[in-house]
Amino acid sequence: MQRKSGKVNVNKCDNKSKFINTRSLLSIFLYLICMPATILLGIYLLDDRKYYIVSMLIICYAMIPFYVLFEKRKPKTREIIVISVLIVIGVCGRAVFFMTPQFKPVIAIVIISGACLGGHVGFLVGSMTGFISNFLFGQGPWTPWQMFAFGIVGLFAGLIFHKGFLTPNKIFLCIYGAFATFFIFGGIVDIWTILMFTPSPNVETAILVYSAALVFNLIHTVSTVFFLFIFAKPMIEKIERVKLKYGLIDTI
């Protein structure tokens, strides 16, 4: 029994180093070669719309390594299913509250998934929720920005709460949720608005857009804190229970 488990561990380590290699090679290629190339191309080739197209491409490049890593890891069916259930909860949460603009539980669910299952899963749950819910709400040029913003919120939630810098209790989660919704999500998605509205962004337009979006971002922040305050504890307990009961601890 012991020997067997030892063997499994060795295999795992091998696989892990392989993943890291592929991922880091791809990341280096994307971050150090593709991104500067795109920026240079944008400066020299596109004259008017360079900010918009370059920023959209860079956001797409930034998301690719997460997906490639997930594919390379050959995730188990159980893991895939748990992730998809969390996404379903996010999508349904967004759909149920379609009447109230900005008052959505999506970020709360993304943060909880990140905190329970790690940053990578948090990123996947966030970005896929953004992507799939837009099949119901309509895809648009805002889709990559939303995906990236949701994903980053989940990623940081994982890095902060799953790695153990902070314990995922209600108060810390609420504080992080408020910060993440207002600054990370609001900040990233409003960049889209700025770039879409003016091809030559400047400080004045940025101030205008951010002040116009202030109320919406505040409502969004309040909703995230509200949902985290209510659902954080029961949802974390449920996810932990499923992890323990079905042995998902090793896989995720």
Binding site: R49, E71, S84, L124, T198, K238
Partner: protein
């Protein structure tokens, strides 16, 4: 009305929308812009009918106007000063630039509204199922779980109602408490139930080598013709862009490139790209009509 373009192979639909959206994002030349907006508008009305017209009037037109107004207020470049607004010069160039940006915004939104109609989620899964198997599995699982979640929600809701936890009665706090209770039950159920699904999939051999996936799309000769035409048009337009045939400079003075034979060719190519779905639909309608006529004739001959 049925859309013929949507019945072509998904890869053609996907490449088409990527092309028109990306080209639409940065071609600012007035002729190209007009072509794009007329093409996108016609196709969206063709696809959505009255709904599209209403959406365009209520949502798109105000957005276009807003974008057009915001630009000159914050952009003071340009030579032709029309008037001063709070000591800031408002130039003609920046007003024109703002209007063009507004049209461009509308073009992208219109193309996306067509994309939402044509590129359904099953086409997306078909295209990306091979490249990103795990993620597209997540994608299709989510789409399957949503209706199941809804059904189960109804069952749980009714069961809770029976034991006196009715959301529709009681004080606000009570209602909220019951709502949260139902949501909590739903989460437990979906997590537990999903594990069963996962085990069932595993025992049926999901992820083993040599398993085929369901697909109803076939790349036939019709698709080959359209894809060759589309790729040739795309190459023409992109080479035209690289040659600077569509360039327009707004500041300090509005200046477009001269019209030459090459620029006319590039323009025609762009026109054909933007109107490709409409043209395909027209051809289909024409063929149907002709066949119907000859079919009638055949029947009448047969009857005699």
């Amino acid at each position: 009305m049925n859309d013929t373009f949507g019945t072509y192979h998904p890869i053609i639909n996907f490449i088409y929308f990527c092309t028109v959206i990306l080209l639409g994002m940065f071609i600012m030349h007035p002729i190209f812009l007009c072509t794009a907006i007329i093409g996108a508008f016609t196709y969206s009305v063709f696809l959505n009918g009255k709904k599209a017209v209403r959406f365009n009037l209520i949502f798109l037109l105000p957005m276009m106007v807003l974008v057009s107004i915001i630009n000159p207020l914050f952009n003071h470049r340009g030579m032709t000063i029309l008037f001063y607004f709070r000591d800031n010069p408002i130039t003609m160039e920046s007003i024109v630039y703002g209007i063009f940006t507004g049209i461009m915004f509308a073009v992208i939104i219109l193309w996306f509204s067509c994309y939402n109609e044509v590129m359904t989620s099953d086409k997306f899964i078909y295209l990306f199922g091979k490249i990103i198997p795990a993620l597209s599995l997540i994608f299709s699982m989510v789409l399957r779980f949503i209706p199941r979640f809804k059904e189960q929600l109804k069952i749980v809701y009714n069961a809770q109602k029976c034991i006196g936890r009715d959301i529709s009665s009681g004080t606000f706090l009570e209602r909220m408490y019951y709502g949260i209770k139902i949501f909590s039950i739903m989460i437990t159920w979906s997590l537990e139930n999903s594990i069963e699904t996962a085990d069932s999939m595993r025992s049926r051999g999901y992820g083993l080598r040599g398993r085929t996936s369901f697909s109803i799309y076939r790349f036939d000769s019709r698709d080959t013709v359209v894809s060759v035409v589309l790729i040739m048009l795309i190459i023409l337009v992109i080479s035209g862009i690289l040659l600077g045939e569509n360039s327009i400079i707004f500041f300090p003075l509005i200046k477009t490139s001269h019209i030459t034979i090459i620029s006319v060719i590039v323009f025609i190519a762009y026109f054909l790209i933007c109107f490709l779905p409409i043209i395909l639909n027209m051809i289909e309608i024409y063929i149907l009509k002709r066949n119907k006529k000859s079919g009638d004739l055949d029947v009448s001959v047969y009857n005699k």
